[in-house]
Symmetry: D2
Subunit: 348 residues, 4 copies
């Protein structure tokens, strides 16, 4: 077969990469004879849930879905009635980049707050609480945060806990969009349990695709009672895979032998290297803190298209000439050095 | 890695099987360096669309999605406003087995007709036309049929054309749920173009997962103008894969060297063999015509659980002791003979 | 002002009539100075709720809405998640005549049963219970019945209780569409409490418009805990009137001095008279039991359009030449006699 | 009947008032014998539509609905697919005060802009256009403005035209929320045709309830071809009144002999008087331009609750001690003077 592949390795996004060899191997191992469809009476599902429970050190409930939009939207809508609202940073993937899926599926509203560093604080949620009990307004019921944020920044454990505490005091829930949760755990040097369970997060979108899986994310309910009926939501949300074993097997490989950690470490380390190198380049400057696997930089307008020809990446803020450079598990020091060398060459 | 797999090969469903070796190979080939996410500026997508256009002999538009529910629901809702309705057999997967996803996503109603053989006729749609122009009723706008039907039967080309003609005379569309379209084409000995394009089908859910793919289906708009804006629907419907190349590559493998045909031929042949063998067994009788890869049979009540211990399969109609036996691309004559032998042994 | 009114009094529907003088008077009384909008801190609302609580002999919660579709759809969806389903007779107004509003607003499915007399029985709901726990199917959660039914028939108190008991045993709810509940109470000679509270109905659409109000229905939660948050649903459902006092005042007039009873009695009596008279007419025969204010009759095909010229009414079943003749609170014996005389004259 | 009415006439909102005598009279006139339900074959509907067409000087299509939320939500969603978005000021009633109904019914998103004076400008819509063609973002398709705005301000005809022109250049529509359109027309001294038809507005929510009607608003499609199928939307949106004549008759009275104009003139004049008088009061100052029937003022914190005891009104911005004082068609100079006198007295 002759695939017309686009072989340039660049810094466009961590979902431009392929999959880890261990993941591909798991897919092949899973490809044996017959296995129950849809996860029903499936021993692998039980094995995977047990693994999650070990890692999160709690009796969580785990549901595999196809993608991050599915995980976020289903998690959020499961906990809300249509007249209840999510509060989130305006920059949240849930708000900006899911094509209106949250509104379509929940039938409700996202109340947003401008958060320049991508992080929302309890005092920014507070003003929405005045709507409670007022029948003309949607009723805030859930706070959604991203860790790593869309701005490449990280919440400290303390900050997450403060949000969870605030939410619970108000009778609300806290959702964490963990599309890059492995990068966050590695960057903070904490376990998933410390970051999620112990801070009080209620429901988590646990990402895999951006860190070496082929497809598949997990919705993790840290409080098992909140999960009731989620299987029907997943089905109605068109996120139930028939050959579910091929998602489950990837997650088993991902959580075994710390594959998730090795992958995230590499991505983060390369972002760090890239940031260090770029700081040395005259005419380029970092525009945001580099806390995980993303680097944001401002560079001369005319450099951008030329550099994109060699290493593809996305413009983040056109008017500021700010670009986003994402590193992934397969980014190498050579890739970084090649990129920086190209930038220098083209700047001359 | 130690996967807890359920290794019994049975006759539960064609989505209990794994994937064809050619498909696994394509996944490995696709796993090279970086490749555009979401299919944007992706040469593989163009290659795949071209292949579909050759096969369907028309300028169709093709969109890859995760699963059959996604394909059906998005195809149908794309052509409807929420006050317009789908007309379908009551037994349609769209009506019975998609967990309410059509209602949730379209916001509309499915008008159903009892069709004992799984096939709807124009004269069964006709009565709904009296609602046209009556503001209290939903307005029928689309007919949805399954080929192969959920009852294992097939529409003739003539029957499909009659439905398409009726639909178009009424200002309606015809959707074909082709979860098992390869089995249908092989069984009828016709091309996809003859069955779909030339009969006048407007939009098709082109299945892959039940015939040897890992995941992925295609929504095919036979009239390209109907596809306008579908990419936004797919995204909002949570069916846009980030690493889309891994669906595209599977389809390229599937459509190359007639893999789809070889797989479907094997499944159909095994169903035929199974039917022939079961007819010889005293106490078992076929309950429906065997036209593709499904066999429906009535067997003694007490036999069923014992036989399920050895070869898992589903009960179709509990009160009738009717079971459904699905053959798939990896079913072998040995599997069939083993099953029949077990039935005979247990019947003694 | 010169209104182009259509002054023929006929038998089309009980919503072709105007309003009772007492209701018009209440509207005028309510039209004094200023009064809180949206029912907030509104003493009239409290007065009305108290009146309902007396009549239903329970601590019910009452919410006024604009119309019957609003009452039905909001009541039903309030108790369901989108993956849960309503079970109802196929002939239910909720299923047939609300233009898809239930599907749009609940995002879910109506599971229907053919009920020739318009009445569903527990044994017809039973088969749907096999879907419980099966993730591919919607989950039945509520039974909806109409009293009077769309076929003009009545459930006995025993029959309602049997449905409520069945529902509760299964963890389901019972909803009663009482668009013509006053006609039912009068016909059965029972109180609202006996018919609704004491049989175990969970939520009720309490109709007014078809029995002498201008606009306005009430959603009555017989179990107050089920009402939680309903005010947000009503608002989101676009059914919160700003000048709500004009609905409240109508209901106060309606429930005072038994206006509801006098109106319904008149309508029922006229239906009874009409049935008696029609039975005497050669060539016309009653097609259904006359239990409340509707009369169904079969008459010669050629008579229908001629008679409709003089007294408008609707054809119920075209192929059977069956017509529906609705009596309302303002139908008089003279109207009935005039109609029957016209029929006789035209039949000659 | 003894209605527990709240008789204080205050400045809470123009929907705390009752109805004009002419409107009450029209209701009584309409209450004669029988009349077609749901507006079907209803001569009054045709009469009313003709009246609208005269006033708007174009072949517009008119649909009556129950309330402003219904008018706005149905108008907007009729022109959008769920993946298309409305652009509106953040302060829009559609965004802030409709309890999530737009999201629920359209399944889509509202993109908002901060507009301190309640008015959006084309250059504020412009940035959203960069989402066009990007499959991850909702696609802007409609601009919605309020005239009078929620801040009591007015768009000039030139400003409306600029928005309409911008919208049409971008392939978008312009919706006008005219809950207080009569107040706007009177304030600007222009006809409805000049303000709406000639500026290029595509669809209008024509308000009545806030200017002397009991209930009822009209959705007016200025381009009749945009109205296709709207009757099904209205029904599915639960906004079709069965005794529709009682809305139609109100509108006929409202548009006859310039009732709308007299009512709005009175309300505007009283706001103007109130503003003039308040400006004289030491310790109170106007916080926004008074352009129609609303007055916004800042007053001492301790004054507010005391004054509310005598004349109820709403606090607009708690932290600023800003209150909103709405005048309506039945506000008199004596009411205004009484209010100002009370303020002065309480301020001592």
């Amino acid at each position: 077969m002759n695939l017309k592949l686009a072989h340039t390795k660049g810094f466009a996004s961590d979902n431009w990469s392929g999959v880890s060899p261990e993941v591909m191997e798991a897919l092949q191992m899973a490809n044996q004879l017959h296995h129950p469809a849809y996860g029903e009476n499936d021993p692998m599902i039980q094995q995977a849930e047990k693994r999650f429970q070990e890692i999160f050190e709690t009796d969580c409930k785990v549901f595999f879905v196809y993608n991050g939009t599915g995980a976020n939207v289903l998690a959020v809508q499961h906990l809300l009635k249509s007249w209840q609202a999510v509060v989130a940073p305006h920059s949240a993937h849930l708000n900006e980049d899911e094509g209106g899926a949250p509104e379509k599926f929940t039938g409700g509203k996202i109340l947003t707050v401008d958060c320049p560093d991508g992080k929302i604080r309890p005092e920014q949620v507070e003003p929405f609480m005045s709507s409670i009990g007022f029948q003309h307004h949607v009723q805030p019921k859930l706070i959604s945060i991203s860790q790593v944020t869309e701005m490449g920044t990280l919440y400290s454990l303390h900050e997450i806990k403060a949000l969870a505490d605030f939410a619970h005091q108000q009778g609300m829930y806290l959702h964490l969009d963990g599309a890059r949760i492995a990068n966050a755990a590695v960057a903070l040097g904490v376990s998933f349990s410390e970051m999620v369970t112990q801070t009080g997060v209620d429901v988590l979108s646990f990402g895999g695709t951006k860190n070496g899986l082929m497809f598949g994310e997990a919705v993790v309910f840290l409080k098992p009672e909140l999960a009731e009926g989620f299987e029907y939501n997943r089905k109605q949300g068109m996120q139930l895979a028939s050959k579910l074993r091929f998602i489950t097997a990837q997650f088993l490989a991902y959580l075994e032998n710390d594959l998730w950690k090795r992958n995230a470490k590499q991505a983060n380390a390369m972002a760090s290297l890239l940031a260090d190198e770029l700081e040395q380049v005259n005419g380029i400057r970092l525009s945001r803190a580099v806390e995980a696997n993303g680097v944001f930089a401002i560079m001369p307008k005319e450099l951008i298209p030329k550099l994109q020809q060699e290493y593809f990446f996305h413009i983040w803020n056109d008017s500021q000439n700010e670009v986003r450079l994402m590193c992934s598990f397969d980014t190498t020091a050579k890739d970084v050095q090649g990129f920086v060398a190209a930038a220098k060459r083209l700047l001359k």
